[in-house]
């Protein structure tokens, strides 16, 4: 038995995957989403998830849920509270009001919640700030589906002035609730101040920004809304469905002429494309409806990964090449951020870096930079022969195309099989880093410094290196460069012929063509089978085209 498990773990990749899948199938109820089951490290996570008990539900909360579920008439709230308090749990005199309200609102028991809110406001005690928070939450959620009464609106305004009188500055959680409630009654001017207060101790949430943007559109303040969108994107808070929804509503409300509507819908799509956003499914649905109302053809579609062709309209998506300017920024940053970093000695040494820079200057530019170790280890468990063979196949593949190659590896490679490797080195340029240095930053840097036409060959997704670029704009540039230039080598059933995969022929972000748009959206249930290969899901796209005979 022990041996059996050992084999499961060490030798056999496939059974490891099966094993992990089995673990996940046991878990499906508990975890909605799980990253691709590929490594044994995942198993540790799974084990941890299984053993963590669900701590959120307590006897008290269960009681509140069931009691509000069953009772039709208005309960006696003081008795109700006493009943809750005598059960076991974390609720006490201090937080019971807030938690009761929150539980009721979260379960959409608005009648009970309103009645309890009424009870709270009528009682003579001063409301605690926790209870006020929950009231604001109630009104925000209620306003989503029904209209607020005048009394409730007055309460929100009164609370706003009261809270600021009492505390001068408010904390994060209160601000968020207040902002949402104020948006529910369209008091967007007051929200600005609230937003500033949140900035003091943290970044506002996605929901806060999107709700405010939605409200601005609702009140026809487009200029303000656009400013807010910029701020939101700068804070790495991409827009939620509610913001997009109000934006579209605004366009249709304001403009009646089809051409103008179209112009502004295009503006929205341009915004999505500019930020490389993948829109939520709900937004994709609404976009579909909007364009269809203009008598356009809109279909959910898939993109063929090989060719970048849309399965619906057969158009090929463009490859958005980096402009000279964009590439120059990448070039300026890559050496300092990837190789030098916080401490040069972490990844290499000054002498080595100098040697490398001299080499690149003297022998560049190249057509192909090979991550030799990565390519060689495609061979998997095979010995040095196998590794050299794959490397040779790949090098020859590119030599046939008359490419100039830079081979980048570590010095311990030279011990594999000297002769064969020397043969290879005669045909290419080469650079071997010390065994205790990292080779990945070097091959990336060599490729980028060499020029915009240079491609790289590596199966690595380079996520760690992309992260080191610090700013979002740079990371996006790097990602696009990677899509455009990264070849990958995979093992195949034929040992002598590994699969050499070309770079993507298209850029998988929202893009416009002469006759319409292609937009990616978030598929609702990404299957567990989905393996991250660095390219966003090609199966969930929106194809928007103008009908030819129309217009």
């Amino acid at each position: 038995m022990k041996e059996f498990f050992k084999e499961l773990f060490l030798r056999d990749y496939m059974s490891r995957v099966v094993l992990i899948k089995w673990c996940i199938s046991e878990l499906v109820e508990r975890v909605a989403f799980f990253p691709p089951p590929l490594t044994v490290a995942n198993l540790n996570i799974i084990t941890r998830l299984i053993t963590t008990p669900n701590t959120n539900s307590s006897e008290q909360v269960e009681f509140i849920k069931s009691a509000t579920e069953s009772s039709k008439s208005e309960p006696n709230w003081s008795n109700f509270k006493n009943n809750v308090l005598c059960k076991q749990g974390n609720l006490n005199e201090k937080n019971i009001d807030a938690v009761m309200l929150k539980t009721m609102v979260a379960n959409k028991k608005f009648n009970a919640a309103l009645s309890f809110a009424n009870h709270l406001q009528l009682s003579n005690k001063e409301l605690s700030i926790g209870a006020i928070n929950s009231l604001l939450y109630l009104y925000y959620e209620y306003a989503k589906e029904y209209d607020l009464s005048e009394q409730d609106k007055a309460f929100i305004l009164k609370t706003y002035t009261h809270l600021y009188e009492k505390y001068q500055v408010l904390d994060n959680a209160t601000c968020e609730r207040l902002l949402h409630a104020l948006c529910a009654i369209n008091e967007w001017r007051k929200c600005k101040k609230v937003l500033d207060d949140i900035q003091l101790t943290g970044t506002p949430t996605h929901s806060a920004y999107s709700t405010l943007i939605g409200t601005l559109f609702k009140n026809n303040k487009k200029a303000e809304a656009m400013k807010m969108i910029d701020i939101s994107e700068n804070n790495r808070r991409s827009l939620r469905d509610c913001a997009y929804d109000e934006w579209m509503k605004y366009i249709f409300r304001k403009y009646k002429d089809k051409k103008t509507v179209l112009k502004y819908l295009n503006e929205l799509c341009t915004h999505i494309s500019k930020n490389s956003t993948v829109v939520p499914r709900a937004t994709a649905n609404k976009l579909k409806e909007s364009f269809e109302s203009l008598n356009w053809n809109v279909q959910f579609t898939e993109i063929r990964k090989q060719s970048g062709q849309c399965k619906n309209c057969d158009l090929t998506l463009d490859c958005l090449r980096l402009s000279a300017e964009e590439f120059a920024t990448l070039q300026q940053n890559v050496k300092d951020k990837l190789i030098v970093g916080s401490d040069l000695f972490l990844k290499t040494s000054p002498e080595e870096l100098k040697k490398f820079m001299d080499l690149v200057e003297n022998t560049g530019p190249y057509d192909i930079v090979l991550d030799a170790l990565n390519v060689a280890y495609t061979a998997g468990k095979g010995g040095a022969d196998e590794r050299i063979r794959i490397l040779t196949t790949v090098v020859n593949h590119f030599l046939q195309q008359k490419k100039k190659i830079l081979l980048l590896g570590r010095k311990h490679m030279l011990n594999w099989k000297r002769g064969a490797l020397v043969q290879l080195m005669k045909k290419t340029q080469y650079f071997f880093t010390e065994n205790i240095s990292q080779d990945d930053p070097y091959f990336i840097t060599a490729a980028i410094l060499s020029g915009p036409q240079t491609d790289i060959v590596s199966r690595d997704l380079l996520r760690g290196h992309r992260f080191l670029l610090r700013t979002d704009a740079l990371r996006q540039l790097f990602q696009r460069w990677q899509w455009e230039h990264q070849w990958m080598v995979f093992p195949s059933t034929n040992r002598f012929r590994p699969i050499i995969q070309e770079p993507l022929k298209f850029t998988p972000i929202a893009q416009q063509h002469t006759n319409g748009w292609h937009l990616p959206y978030e598929a609702e249930n990404t299957s567990l089978e989905y393996v991250n290969d660095g390219v966003p899901d090609v199966s969930s796209w929106l194809c928007i085209t103008q009908k030819i005979n129309n217009n």
């Binding site: 038995m1 022990k2 498990f5 050992k6 084999e7 499961l8 773990f9 060490l10 030798r11 056999d12 990749y13 496939m14 059974s15 099966v18 094993l19 089995w22 046991e26 490594t39 044994v40 490290a41 198993l43 540790n44 084990t47 974390n90 609720l91 201090k94 937080n95 807030a98 938690v99 929150k102 605690s128 700030i129 926790g130 209870a131 928070n133 929950s134 505390y167 500055v169 408010l170 904390d171 994060n172 959680a173 209160t174 207060d197 003091l200 101790t201 943290g202 970044t203 401490d343 000695f345 972490l346 040494s349 311990h412 065994n435 205790i436």
Partner: protein, 416 residues
Amino acid sequence: MFCLRSLVSHLRRPIKNKSVFLSRFTFNNTNIGQTSFRYYGLNAEIEDDSDAIVNDLCKGDSNLEKKLKVLMLEVEVMRQDGRCAPDYISKDKWARLLKMDTRNQRNNFLLYLFKLEKKKENEKARKEARKKQLEESPLEEFREYPDDLLYGIQYQSLFLRIRDSSMNMFDNYRALRSIIYGQSVVIDCSYEEHMVWRETLNAAKQMTFLFGDNRIHKDPFNLHMCNVKPNGEFMKQLRKNIPSLEEPWFPMNIHSESYLDLFPKEKLVYLTPHCREELTSFDPEAVYIVGCMVDKMNNEPLSLAKAKKDGLKMAKLPLDRYIEWAPGSKKNLNINHMIPILLDLRLTGDWEFALRHIPRRKLMETKILAMQKRFDNTSLNRQDLFKSFKNVRRNSSLTMNEKKFKSKRSLYYDDM
């Protein structure tokens, strides 16, 4: 310490003289009550010192004061919202909260404090329940005859009592002797800036264990802590753990200068898990350096970079040669595992024996045992499960030996 221990043994024993016992016990308990009073004090008292904390921490800086007040409000809202936040937060905890940038960090820290508080509360409740139970339980009279002699602490005894302090001195003697005759080992404490607060605390704890483990060994090392920042968080915590740390007689060397200033460079060997050379045998002439760092968050090869920069020899333990490592476990070891390994290695020269200090959780056998346990507890039909695994395994890969064996067998048996 000893007084507490003796008290415990009192409690285990049937009590002859109730009044003596009770008076001592209650005395001790009021002590506990007093020290813990500030944790569970009334709300009124807590309100009072919040202003004092604001004044102390901010020292008139209005921006800071504003932020602190917002944070206090935030915690108050969390309490009233039913989220987890402790009832009492001390001044230095506020200072830490003030330094945190994101809401998530604060929430995690508050959750940690909340759990700690609940733990203390439960502990206290448990102690009180036990006290009550002891008071209620009837006294056993275990003397058969009235003139029986009683043996044990506080009664008659055959043995001389060895006090904790004498044991302590005995251990320290061994450590002091090693300062004169022992081999030097350096603990490099320069990584404080790369650790988060919690890791610094862990490092200080490991350092404490390390000191203890070293001095009770048969032949201890002469420990040198180098690159020590006297005012850093690490030393603060270490002083808390070992109050007599900076006494002149204390058997450990603490230097704020680098090991390069203390030892000849060619003798130094930096032990780092990131390098490629393996330590094949223990060199009694060398001065080994171990980095004192906890790298849970930061997995950069810091010690490698340092050794490279200083141009020192590097080595790692030959873990893969002697031990079957579990997949996914890191190869870096705590300092309080490293030093006992080196100690045993020097004494015996036996790697297998020395490497027994490696925590079991990092080994393959533990992982396998855990998996077996999980399979035993599964709700699924085991037969099916195993069948499916076996199929996969047979189809996809056979080891070289299995393949050979199979092909040989197929030569001899027709039905294969």
